[in-house]
């Protein structure tokens, strides 16, 4: 991923004066457009291509209180070789874990090319003092995380303290060092598409390498219209500044069909340049097996039962 300047041209401070130009989203129309794009019929070669891309873009995730080194080790094996019986199936992009489990993941993934992503900044609520959040990030980076998935302070955002949110993202970005920063907006708590767009632009202006929909801890995580709103924000930043910011929907994407619908949106909104794990990720846990099942079906013409795919 290309390292971006923290403050791209066109998004300089003071931010307050710039926010009114951010524009708005029409709810009915954006949902209609997302609905239209979801009807694309992707078949044969095109479907197989999309399924393999979806695997390559996956951030295989486990974020549970009950995560153990054993669980994470198993997940890492899955990440490297999702389908042990088919070597042509690529590795996923990254494994996403809590900071404490980064060392285990790092060790198991060494040399595989699969990245380690860690959530941080008092995930999932973000309701802690800034120094705690920064320490959280620093620890995860010190443990070897390649990527940091931070959460924005929704309390500050919803009370209109945009500059506070902005400053916090900037500080986290500094603490990341060389690690890439994904900024989680937690869209289910933002309430409106207008807010999603505003938070997306804010995060990108503050230096996010990726913007991400959700923690996965709330119902109503990633949805197709929210995804579209964020892609359009990314497109506007690219048009205005030439900077390419990545996108990561997370939470609730469980089927191949749904994953392809997300990829179609990327393809028809941002274009083929974004169809790469460098700029697009899907945060998921159960999705991978459904994709494997579909890949095998496309290749052999027959469905196999769930028992033929490993649960990790």
């Amino acid at each position: 991923m290309a390292q971006a300047p923290a403050l791209p041209a066109g998004f300089e401070l003071p931010l307050k004066q710039r926010l009114p130009r951010i524009g708005s989203i029409d709810q009915v129309a954006v949902e209609a457009r997302a609905g239209e794009l979801a009807k694309r019929s992707i078949k044969r070669d095109a479907k197989l291509w999309a399924l393999e891309l979806a695997i390559r873009c996956c951030d295989l995730t486990t974020l549970e209180g009950q995560d153990t080194p054993g669980k994470v080790a198993a997940l890492c094996s899955k990440a490297i070789r999702p389908d042990p019986s088919d070597a042509s199936v690529p590795s996923v992009a990254a494994v996403c874990v809590y900071p404490n489990l980064v060392p285990v993941a790092k060790e198991r993934l060494a040399g595989s090319g699969v990245k380690v992503a860690s959530v941080a900044t008092a995930f999932p609520s973000g309701q802690s003092p800034l120094d705690v959040k920064l320490r959280d990030v620093e620890d995860a980076v010190a443990f070897g995380a390649d990527e940091i998935d931070m959460v924005i302070d929704r309390g500050a955002f919803l009370s209109g303290r945009y500059a506070h949110v902005y400053d916090e993202i900037c500080r986290v970005k500094e603490s990341c060092g060389d690690a890439h920063l994904k900024v989680i907006l937690e869209v289910a708590e933002l309430g409106t598409y207008d807010n999603v767009r505003r938070a997306s632009l804010l995060a990108m202006a503050a230096g996010a390498d990726f913007i991400k929909t959700s923690t996965g801890k709330l119902p109503g995580a990633a949805t197709l219209p929210v995804h579209l709103v964020m892609l359009e924000a990314i497109r506007d930043v690219y048009e205005e500044t030439g900077r390419r910011v990545g996108m990561k929907p997370a939470g609730g994407i469980r089927t191949s069909k749904n994953a392809i619908q997300y990829l179609v949106q990327v393809h028809e909104t941002l274009g083929p340049d974004w169809l790469t794990p460098d700029l697009y990720r899907i945060g998921a846990s159960s999705l991978v097996n459904d994709i494997l099942m579909q890949i095998r079906k496309e290749k052999t013409g027959a469905y196999q039962s769930k028992e033929y795919f490993t649960n990790d």
Binding site: D26, V28, A32, K39, S41, I42, K43, V89, P90, E268
Partner: protein, 490 residues
């Protein structure tokens, strides 16, 4: 797809080319030859002509060219059926209409495929727009059939008799539904003439009429060209309902002057789609695309004049061009096609002529790169910028996928320019400001004003024009009145 690199064993093609996803034609069984549907029977016409698929120029079937005598015959059958149909209780008529609506739903795939085959429109539109709306019209007017006294309180609504109905080729089945459903609900019988180039779904509808066991002669379908239409206008009918070009509409009105036949006309348009600088820009761009490229722009209410507030004109045009590049033009039966074939050679030539005029007058043309099929009638989505109000492309109805972009500075100027046309069928307003929507809607001289959307239709909502876009309303309660005596226009 060409493979350019290998990573982790996975093929990485240069880009993602969607594989063809054609809807199967097998659901449609075409006959070689279609007669005229008169009095519940198929009559053999003296003359026939060939109907084609505009996407491939493939000959689909032979259909009848109804003569004046055939038309007289059909009107006679309708007249005979009128006695039976008009004396049925409204609740009985409703049963038939509900039945037609349900059959249309059941056979929707068959109708959608045939509509795309014969008319060239993308299957996703015939499947998701034409068919559901056609069924919805029958459902809606079925509900009114036994409530006419309540629709027009303190009146005695009576059916007119026989309605002659002439419909266009852009929404063949939907226009049939718009015409037949209110007429039948009100107790009239009909003789309908489909457009010359798109008769097949109307002829398939005759199967539905039979399947629904509608009394013979209540619905009669006569196919043919303009001469058949003229014969229907001159025949012994009580009302003419016409949807089509302003030119033909004027000719019909001249012909009917001095007769006691009632008439409603739904004619051309040159609608203004007005985008203010506070609009949700990406959604407005979708609305612009839907306004002009929906059904290849073969829409009387198409948003063919785009007025953008000057302060955001560059942004909107840039976004529009990028969006146009993602439009998929091609096989109407492919489920991923966004823009299908132009309906006929004649229409294609008309579009080409006006586009050439636009270039000559000095407008700047943009067409996204797209490969058009070699056979059939095709025209790439087109946008003209630097258009002046006086250019032909800003004045005349093109009825194709061609958009003219103009700019304005203030709301007053937007209204003035939008109304500065002989037409007045529809308009669109894009702004986040609710009060401005109402302010604009009060001042725009158009039958329909859409706010933050475009080309939305619903059977409960009246549709019709101002000025040269015609008179009379279709849809809603208003759509019943033109088929009833003893009521004032609601």
């Amino acid at each position: 797809m060409t493979e350019v690199a290998k990573r982790g064993g996975a093929p990485v093609p240069a880009d993602w080319t969607y594989a063809p996803a054609p809807e199967s034609r097998d659901v449609v069984s075409l006959r070689e030859r279609y007669g005229l549907f008169v009095g519940g029977e198929w009559l053999e016409p003296a003359d026939t002509y060939t109907t084609f698929s505009p996407a491939t120029e493939e000959a689909l079937a032979q259909v009848g060219q109804a003569s004046p005598a055939d038309v007289t015959n059909a009107v006679g059958a309708a007249r005979e059926a009128f006695a039976v149909w008009s004396s049925l209780p409204g609740s009985e008529r409703a049963k038939y209409l509900f039945r037609i609506a349900r059959i249309l739903q059941e056979r929707s795939r068959e109708f959608a495929v045939l509509e795309s085959l014969n008319g060239g429109k993308p299957i996703k539109e015939s499947r998701d727009v034409d068919l559901p709306l056609a069924a919805a019209h029958f459902f809606y007017y079925a509900g009114w059939a036994d409530k006419l006294e309540y629709a027009f309180p303190n009146r005695t609504p009576r059916p007119l008799g026989v309605a002659g109905q002439i419909i266009p080729w852009n929404f063949p089945l939907l226009m049939l539904a718009w015409k037949i459903a209110p007429a039948l609900a009100a107790g009239n019988t009909v003789v309908l003439k489909p457009a010359e180039t798109t008769p097949l779904t109307a002829l398939l509808f005759c199967d539905v009429v039979r399947q629904a066991e509608l009394p013979a002669g209540v619905v009669n379908i006569v196919t043919g060209d303009g001469a058949t239409g003229a014969a229907l206008v001159d025949a012994h009918v009580d009302k003419i309902a016409f949807t089509g070009s302003t030119e033909v509409g004027k000719a019909i009105q001249r012909r009917l002057a001095g007769t006691d036949k009632k008439v409603t006309l739904e004619l051309g348009g040159k609608a203004a789609n007005i985008v203010f600088d506070d609009a949700a820009v990406d959604q407005a761009v979708e609305g612009i695309v839907n306004g002009i490229y929906f059904n290849q722009g073969h829409v009387c209410c198409a948003g063919s004049r785009l007025f953008v507030q000057e302060s955001i004109a560059d942004t909107v045009v840039e976004k529009l061009k990028r969006r146009m590049a993602t439009l998929r033009v091609g096989d109407p039966l492919d489920k991923n096609t966004d823009v299908g074939a132009i309906n006929s050679r004649a229409q294609l030539e008309k579009i080409q002529e006006l586009v050439a005029a636009g270039r000559d007058e000095g407008a700047e043309i943009y067409q996204p790169p797209c490969q058009l099929p070699e056979k059939g009638y095709w025209f790439a989505p087109t946008v003209f910028t630097n258009v002046a109000q006086s250019y032909r492309i800003a004045q005349e109805e093109i009825f194709g996928p061609v958009l003219s972009v103009l700019t304005f500075r203030t709301p007053d100027e937007a209204v003035e320019k939008a109304n500065n046309t002989p037409y007045g069928l529809s308009a669109g307003v894009w702004t986040e400001k609710g009060s401005r929507i109402l302010w604009m809607a009060e001042r725009l001289r158009a039958g329909v004003v859409w706010a933050n959307t475009y080309n939305r239709f619903d059977p409960t909502s009246p549709f019709g024009g101002f000025k040269e876009s015609g008179f009379g309303r279709e849809g809603g309660l208003h759509g019943l009145a033109p088929y009833l005596d003893g009521v004032t226009h609601a």
